[in-house]
Symmetry: C2
Subunit: 274 residues, 2 copies
């Protein structure tokens, strides 16, 4: 980033902040590796007066903030907030009304399982200026770093994103939609329900030896990949002791991981294996 | 980027290049707006000896390359290459064997409808070192810039990515998978087949007044959004004269565009409406 234009921008912003015209940028922080922030996300974070962030946003990313920026933690997990959603919405509105340039920072992409839509609906209703900065979603980060293409001419023509973390703790997925041929299924936040999900997919007719990968801490130096089958994956994940955040990929593309894995993950001393 | 460390990196690279150990970085260029490149993508592009790029990669992104880097154009569209896929694979291998630091640059994310998997399979077989840099996929870029969350508690719990551009020009999608309740469907490269796709979805039982958005030139200053229904969208797109690249979003989330659109697109004088 250009230091001089940054300083000028900051002065300009300070002027608009004084007038009480705050703004909110809803920003996707990407899948984990700070190097996967977009140029705009990095700039918005470095400019912000206040950053309201979730659990999945790492310390290295928050360190890009100005030293005098307010950092406000609001959540444990994407759908299990320390602050209820209504209070997060109210906080963003209050900060913007006070004239702050606010960054609302979420892991991955804010419009894929991030509840970002609900937050900017509240901003729109309150007449607050906002923008949305897309991010690399966890599925892209995990698949690229694990060497598992989500689509591939020989394996999958479609890709379905679902969440295993549903309301009321139940797991009422559309099972028939999950077992289509030539499809890759990516399950966000499904580690706790993995055993049930795998059983239901087999009951719905998917072959028990369908390859499954579970990717813990995707794109970070601590990344681990467990490869198994629908039948064995719950046990394999338990044996390996995987913890959230973890992404589950189901489909024959998973087999490509054997040849295409390039990122060393937890066994590596450096974050970048190239 | 830090100019001094960049220069040092370049010297170090020149040394390794002389030894004949080239490498390939398969890099996602994101949805269009150069500001949506990841930090790593921008760095890899600025370091590359050779960049092998597709049609959807814009001039502003290629301008980040070194003046002495080779820029090699290989494609009209993602699945309609000027060079056949086998020749692209052979080109990447030849450049790497010659000792170059090669960037293979694709629009969006390289593992979502980018055929990136096939290219790195060829590299793996040839024993070439590679890495994969994920990018913001077109669906994320378009949805964030059009104010259409792909998932939303009140509308959609799942999101399906499909391509309208199939082998042999046919359109043999899994129609039943496309008409599930509480799902957003994103169709990549489907503009030419939009009329047929809409008809088939209605025939499969989706309501004719289901909202559809077609987003042309997503995230660029030239972005246009046409909002219609399954029944009217083919006509609306024709009237508006939309051209590829365009992304199609089907689902009730599309209605949120009325309240959440923040990016001015083609009517704006600046690329950033915030």
């Amino acid at each position: 980033m250009d230091a001089i234009s940054g300083a000028i921008d900051r002065k300009r912003r300070a002027g608009s902040a004084a007038s009480g015209n705050g703004r909110v940028a809803l920003v996707g922080a990407g899948p984990g590796d700070p190097d996967l922030l977009t140029l705009r996300a990095a700039r918005r974070i470095s400019e912000a007066d206040a950053i309201v962030y979730d659990h999945l946003v790492g310390r290295e990313i928050l360190d890009l903030a100005r030293r005098d920026a307010k950092l406000i933690y609001v959540g444990k997990e994407r759908d299990n907030h320390t602050l209820p959603q209504e209070q997060i919405n109210a906080l963003l509105i209050r900060l913007a009304h006070a004239g702050s340039m606010v960054v609302r920072l979420k892991g991955g992409d804010p419009f894929i399982f991030g509840r970002g839509g609900e937050e900017i609906e509240a901003l729109a209703d309150a007449g607050i200026a906002f923008e949305v900065v897309p991010g690399v979603t966890a599925a892209s980060g995990a698949s690229c770093y694990a060497g598992i293409p989500l689509t591939h001419r020989d394996h999958a023509q479609t890709c379905l994103f679902v969440t295993g973390h549903l309301k009321q703790g139940g797991c009422d997925l559309d099972w028939d939609a999950l077992v289509r041929p030539k499809q890759t299924v990516v399950i966000y936040m499904g580690l706790g329900q993995l055993g049930e999900i795998a059983k239901r997919m087999i009951a719905q007719g998917m072959r028990a030896d369908m390859p499954v990968a579970v990717i813990e801490d995707a794109t970070r130096a601590s990344q681990r990949v467990v490869r198994a089958t629908l039948e064995t994956v719950a046990e394999a994940v338990k044996d390996a002791g995987l913890n959230p955040p973890a992404l589950i990929v189901v489909g024959t593309v998973v087999n490509l991981n054997q040849r295409l894995a390039w990122f060393a993950g937890r066994t590596a001393t450096a974050a970048d294996a190239l």
